[in-house]
Symmetry: C2
Subunit: 300 residues, 2 copies
């Protein structure tokens, strides 16, 4: 607990919203976790739908996109930034921290640490990670887990079709189960004690993954682990919103703002599939060129 | 046959390469068709891998990307432009034609006309179209078919998972057959005489689609129809390469140049999956800002 920090924050600073960005709709699972964990905070979500997906793009490109997104959110006066996108968390966190003068939380560190926490009682812990090709190749989860535990055995596996299956809404179709069995065959043999869902879309396929690997495997939703760390950080830094938000919060209510860089209509449709509700405040904007932000189009 | 045109073209103009662009790797099926049909021509292919896919993006965004790609290829001195991307052909052809002073051929007109041609003998022709969500919503194929035939019955259907399945290389997996049966159930009932493969990736799944709908359905590869129309146009305008290319041409040989806007390594890997060979000349470049083109990185 840092009381000095607490005192140095003005009430105005602390009442600012928390920024979240993702390459597209997937980060809505992280938004949901943050919203559930921190009902007294407001959020601004940016989905970079004009340039989604990040998972098949290069380091330089992901870094550039991530910096532009961060600069856009910073320009709106957020008090803290959550990088909900696993690929951007894996590749661009140091650059973002260097560029914007705010606390920045990614999803990989919290997800990796949580997997170690829930397996500490095992004499020989085994931790699995499933993610996009880019996140797997980056070894970011592997390194995060290794930093928290020297003894855990780690197996990573890419599941490229899980993202389009989740966006298509095929959460319980037989084809999805069949594809999961194929992708997770080695993982099942590895028999992990915990499995990190290392892509924001994967919690949408939680049932399929749990059934494929067996109910005893602890599934780690990086978004939930991240929300817990954000809650800790707000408390430590004395940054929690000092004004009580009255009434019951609902996901996507009008206290939270949503921005996309393209195709707001499709975003709203997939958001409803993921969260059961469409954002009440959704706007399409441009983030190109980082600092000059141009508003294009407003949708309800 | 336009002899005036023929005479007005200098030998230097006619020996220029033909430009092709696509949102990513899918257009390689169009490149293959052009290469097979026109062995005496050289090609420059641009895959906009930094911004793929186009199929879920808005008209304004697809138009901007398409113009930037076209300007890049025009700056390399091409004699003709083929828009291999169905989404860009559906949404951006008029803007591209207005902007660059070259003949521009899209894939939708040729694909639609070919479907009408092969069904003219039917008393009541039925034509199916499968494509991405954006291409289906644009109704571009429907309109192209309608322009060529007033009497054809038309059914369109979106098959979003076909693109990731093709890129994953799952061309004959049981899950792919099962997904095809689900997507094509209405189409099978419609029993088309011809089916337009209205997305550049779909020829990769030709076997699955043929088996699902039955071998009697004529599958129209828009890339092949486009290559035939490009050959006609070259002849009509007297634009064919006047210098005979000696020796046997191979796909992706060093007479053809390939550019991507990102992740050249992944492009090369999927290219090998699609064509059986990797491009010998592949370079990663930036096309942002249309006219200023910056070379970033060369790969072999």
């Amino acid at each position: 607990m840092n009381n000095a920090g607490s005192e140095s924050q003005s009430e105005k600073d602390r009442s600012r919203p928390i920024g979240i960005f993702d390459s597209g709709v997937g980060g809505l699972t992280v938004y949901r976790a943050l919203h559930d964990r921190l009902p007294n905070e407001r959020f601004i979500y940016l989905g970079d739908t004009a340039r989604v997906p990040y998972g098949t793009k290069s380091l330089a490109t992901v870094e550039r996109y991530a910096l532009e997104n961060s600069a856009f959110l910073a320009s709106l006066g957020i008090k803290m930034l959550v990088v909900a996108c696993n690929t951007a968390s894996a590749l661009a966190l140091p650059s973002i921290r260097e560029k914007i003068g705010l606390d920045v939380v990614g999803v990989i560190g919290p997800g990796g640490r949580r997997a170690v926490e829930v397996t500490t009682d095992e004499p020989a812990p085994r931790i699995g990670v499933i993610a996009t090709e880019a996140t797997v190749s980056s070894n970011a989860y592997k390194e995060a887990i290794r930093r928290a535990s020297e003894r855990a055995a780690i197996l990573q596996s890419g599941c490229p079709l899980f993202v389009p299956l989740a966006e298509e809404g095929w959460t319980h179709e037989p084809e999805t189960y069949s594809i999961a069995r194929r992708y997770l065959a080695d993982m099942k043999e590895f028999a992990p004690h915990a499995l990190v869902l290392g892509c924001t879309h994967y919690p949408i396929l939680r049932d399929v993954i749990a059934e494929t690997l067996g109910e005893s495997v602890k599934l780690i939703d990086s978004g939930i682990a991240t929300a817990d760390e954000v809650a800790d950080l707000l408390r430590e830094k004395g940054m929690a919103n000092p004004n009580t938000i009255a009434g019951e919060r609902r996901l996507c209510d009008d206290l939270d703002n949503f921005y996309v860089t393209d195709a707001a209509e499709r975003f709203a449709r997939v958001a409803e599939r993921f969260l059961g509700v469409q954002p009440s405040k959704l706007e399409a904007i441009e983030v190109y060129g980082a600092d000059e932000v141009k508003s294009e189009n407003v949708e309800g």
